[in-house]
């Protein structure tokens, strides 16, 4: 199964991958809301996240995760296009989106377009 490796130390948060994804999937259109990859932000850090499948198993086996002195809900890490979240859902139609890796080969358009090399197909 293809996976995209993300190096958050390299990401500049420019969201070029979002533009690339929507240009590749929707003809002649640039719209980050229709992209299957979104750049999330936590303080000064930016990390791109690709849309994953929405399955019930992930929700039913939810638990709390402690990192450092903070407790996180599993939802904070989940990348499913679930109805609870505003992203990975096509805004105009409400259809959930899922990353298809642009039908590799050669490699997904976000990986090819990334300016800093933060994304890598493994």
């Amino acid at each position: 199964m293809p996976r995209i490796k993300i190096d958050h130390t390299k990401c500049t948060g420019c969201r070029h991958c979002e533009a690339a994804c929507s240009l590749n999937h929707v003809v002649n259109t640039v719209n980050p809301r229709r992209a299957r990859i979104r750049v999330m932000r936590d303080g000064n850090r930016y990390y791109p996240v690709i849309a994953g499948p929405f399955v019930d198993a992930a929700c039913t086996s939810k638990q709390f995760v402690v990192i450092g002195d903070q407790t996180y809900d599993m939802c904070a890490f989940c990348r499913a296009s679930c109805p609870e979240k505003p992203y990975f859902i096509e805004a105009e139609t409400g259809i959930p989106l899922k990353c298809d890796f642009c039908g590799i080969p050669p490699s997904p358009s976000c990986v090819r377009w990334c300016n800093t090399g933060a994304l890598e197909l493994v």
Binding site: C14, H16, A19, V30, R41
Partner: protein, 440 residues
Amino acid sequence: MARETFLVSIGPAGEKLLPLANLVNDRFLSVGGAGIGAVMGAKNLKAIAVKGQHSLQVADGSRFVQVINTLINKLNRAPLTSQSMPQWGTTFLVGLCYQKGILPRNNFRSTSQPLKNIGTEALNSAFALRGRGCFACPIACIKKADVKYSAFEGKGMVPTYLAIGTLGFNCGISDLSAIGVMSVLCGEMGLDPVATGGNFATVMELVEKKAVTPEELKIDISFGNADSMIEAIRLISTKKGYAKRLGQGGMAISESFNMPEIFMGVKGLSLSPFDPRAIQGMGLHFATCNYGPHYLYSYTFIDELLNVHENLDPLETQGKAALVKRYQDTSAVVDSLGLCNWPLMGLKFNNYVPMVNSCLGTNYKADDLLSIGERIWNIERIFNMKAGFNMSHDTLPERFFKEPIPDGPAEGQISRVKEMLPEYYQLRGWSKQGEPGLEE
């Protein structure tokens, strides 16, 4: 969280209608210029938020992708846009400007200072740098500070060349972490760094010339005193008591003490940190710019200082009028397109044209776009003239014509703007009084 709403707002300074007030967006970038914040404050408008979900249509998607990829490859091959800018942001200009004697010190009265505390190496050790790009930018010149300093935690931005030059060296301060704190404070208070720096440089020279004593101001403000300047930046945005006098802008302060000649600015706005005596083309731009003396409205330093496209001597006046006109038109049209001018350090303006055409489905040529830029510039000029500006405002402070640079690599130079101005008017097709014809 991926954010869907973006906003630009004024700070406390804008609410108090300070003439130094600016807009600050939620990425901690000052946008606009001095006074815009006061305009919004006067209309009781605190912030503008934008959200949207509709798509942008590109006329010819496959060609657009192809053009963008070529341009990005070009940028990645150019040394400035692939190494200097991504690594240090605009701060790499500090060392270069110092070497050419362009970096001003002590309210434009000197250009030399000890270099060990400034420049890119000091920056690397003072801040943990982290690149941050505007939307889809391959350069990512905004430098965020990681949590190395408490003042920067989570939100800070490493000071840009503008902030280092105006808040720092022009006020005699060469401590990078103090400049960083001031730059962050300006962002939090909604102050414009250029106008704030010029304001305090004027006050400092007033104190030095004994026009006003520190006791009267109730704050020990003088060249090189970083702590009191940080305190003063905090105070002026409250606009209470004696702080009211400090924050009224460099021009108003110098006039209230009957010394208007010590305010270093054009059309009421403080100069960007380029000494116009040592870089003549930028001097002509400072004198003629519609906005005021801001270096980002004409990127002449790309050719004069960095020698990217042409190898020009900053001290020469030959051909500078044409250079200034070309870059002013370029930046007018590029700003109107919503694009950035910094890639001009790796691209020519001609490279922008296929990008515009494939996106909009038009058939512009480079000259068509430049003539649009010229029209924009003329309309701005006509607006300014209706608002009361005329040829007598197209000049620099008297200091740049009378006092040569006392030290540094460009020693003995004076500004020769008055020689270039008639040629500039002629190239623009304006009358000898600098008035654009109505038919343009």
